[in-house]
Symmetry: none
Subunit: 303 residues, 2 copies
DNA sequence: TGTGCATGTTCGAATTATCTGAAGTTGTTG
DNA sequence: CAACAACTTCAGATAATTCGAACATGCACA
């Protein structure tokens, strides 16, 4: 069995530097000095690099040796971290939890739960992945995410999923104060609306055309990168369209957006939490139990 | 000599996965299957973790085993890169130079320099690797590339890098008013900061895994879908990190975010040439001196 | 249901890697 | 110049790893 760099060799270099000599390293590692010498010479042979200048009484690291020592410490730390986190994964904690949340919701809904989760001190990285309405189930099914907050209740695919009703979300047709439609007579007709560009949020879900839900045909569109941009576009008067009412409550109150009644109103949508029934990760389980009981989302939907 | 994780054991895991069986790994590594079995059992014993489910006919990785395999590959790559770059430090001319360039730039920018370099007649292979804006630093840090032309400054990791500035945008290290770092003594040290989760904006245009509990980094991460979510996360006090100053000017003025001085301030964001400072390769140095004086890139940016 | 095949394990023996102990070399210091 | 310390050399001992042969088990197929 042959390898150039070994974890043990890096440990030896580290001990030599910290103790100042081969003899000091030998003491720390419970070996004899010739074993240290053997390990260093083997490493130099395998790398084909001189690591110590032995012209003097004491061996001194060469630039290459010092480089290997320094970078090798990073590798040593990484190896220890890997052992530790592997043990934690073995105990049930998955290394990463990807939460897909509906872009209609603001990410702030998740923050109290995430804060509490981090306080547990377990080595799980949490990743918030924005998914549009239609793409949530697809993301869960294809395992781009482990948990969905804000899935719709219509396009649930076949498979072993568990879901939980979070609440309903209402939509408002909104325009900027200076937009011609702001002073138009209500309720707005399709004719009124189709004369202006519709602001559309791009759908991040794969292989789905840009969202048509709530848009009238034959109407020009201005596609935004995400829901925040859609809101900005409508505030700027560049486009009109439906927006989730809780997201723009403050903008409506301050007059930066104007709510208009339309002839064909958009029905509220039901939002679900969803997961694969069989997934057993401890972090997933923790978030599921927490978020299905969390009033923050229900409160936000109702405001 | 005793250690939990060895480079050789990780190599064995890697071969088992790639070849699909212990027997396949044995063939690839020129060993007999019982030697593979011995190595795996030794690793399991040293870690005190079951890595393979042997209830079936074929051994199947457990979640902990899969985790170790995945992260272990990072360690394997790092060890190989360390051997390579140590030789580079020792020898001067590195055998290979990998140049990552920003996909916004055309590769033609590099051609005059590469042509002149080949005319030198030195035995160095040059490799051009296309990287997206945010992925450039990751490529450099993980040593998939040795030199970056066109790096951004948003995702620059901590570490010893050299860069050459082409244009400017200022960034601010920001925390929420109620965050512990808000009242911490300035300038903040890396130690101060690494005790709190870092808010990281995921790069959606490239299939890079979002920031994970990297075995090389000790700081926890919370990955946001985009820069807006990163701002929200930091406003909520869930994470800390760098934000583009013009984007948060109003939040700073209104007190929703607090600007903190840090020991290692972030350079302005623009297209940069970037490299590891300690890398001493002669080819790297040659290209660095050549490309940082080359008007071709600056001319292209100004047109 | 029985057979053949493939995968992985067990275990004794062999091989290889790493270590120890003793002696030697070299540089520094008093 | 002698004493001391650091590191090297080298033969032999010990430990780790490998091999080879036999065994156990699961799967596919007739």
């Amino acid at each position: 069995m042959h390898t150039a760099i070994t974890i043990d060799a890096l440990r030896v270099l580290d001990a030599i530097d910290r103790k100042g000599s081969f003899a000091g390293a030998a003491g720390e590692l419970f070996r004899v000095p010739s074993a240290i010498s053997y390990t260093v010479q083997k490493l130099e042979e395998d790398l084909n690099v001189v690591l110590f200048d032995r012209s003097g009484h004491r061996a001194v690291l060469t630039p290459a040796g010092r480089y290997l020592l320094k970078e090798g410490r990073t590798l040593l730390d990484a190896a220890e971290n890997l052992a530790h986190s592997t043990r934690q994964v073995a105990q049930g904690w998955e290394p990463r939890l990807r939460i897909g949340f509906n872009s209609l919701l603001p990410a702030e809904c998740l923050f109290p739960a995430i804060k509490d989760f981090f306080a547990l001190g377990v080595p799980v990285d949490v990743q918030i992945i924005e998914e549009v309405f239609a793409g949530a189930w697809d993301a869960l099914q294809s395992r781009r995410v482990d948990l969905i907050i804000g899935a719709d209740d219509i396009s649930k695919p076949s498979g072993n999923f568990t879901s939980h009703v979070l609440g309903n979300i209402t939509f408002t047709f909104a325009v900027a104060p200076g937009h011609p439609l702001a002073s138009a007579k209500e309720p707005l007709t399709e004719e009124d609306i189709s004369g202006f560009p519709a602001a559309v949020a791009a759908d991040t879900s794969r292989a789905l055309p840009a969202g048509h839900a709530g848009i009238f045909r034959r109407q020009r569109t201005l596609t935004a990168a995400n829901i925040d941009h859609k809101i900005s576009i409508q505030k700027a008067g560049l486009g009109v369209g439906w927006l989730p009412k809780p997201r723009i409550q403050e903008l409506l109150a301050s007059g930066q957006l104007i709510e208009k009644q339309v002839c064909e109103p958009r029905q509220p949508a039901t939002l679900l939490a969803a997961r694969h029934t069989d997934d057993k990760g401890k972090a997933l389980t923790w978030f599921w139990q927490r978020l299905t009981k969390d009033p923050a989302i229900a409160n936000w939907l109702n405001n």
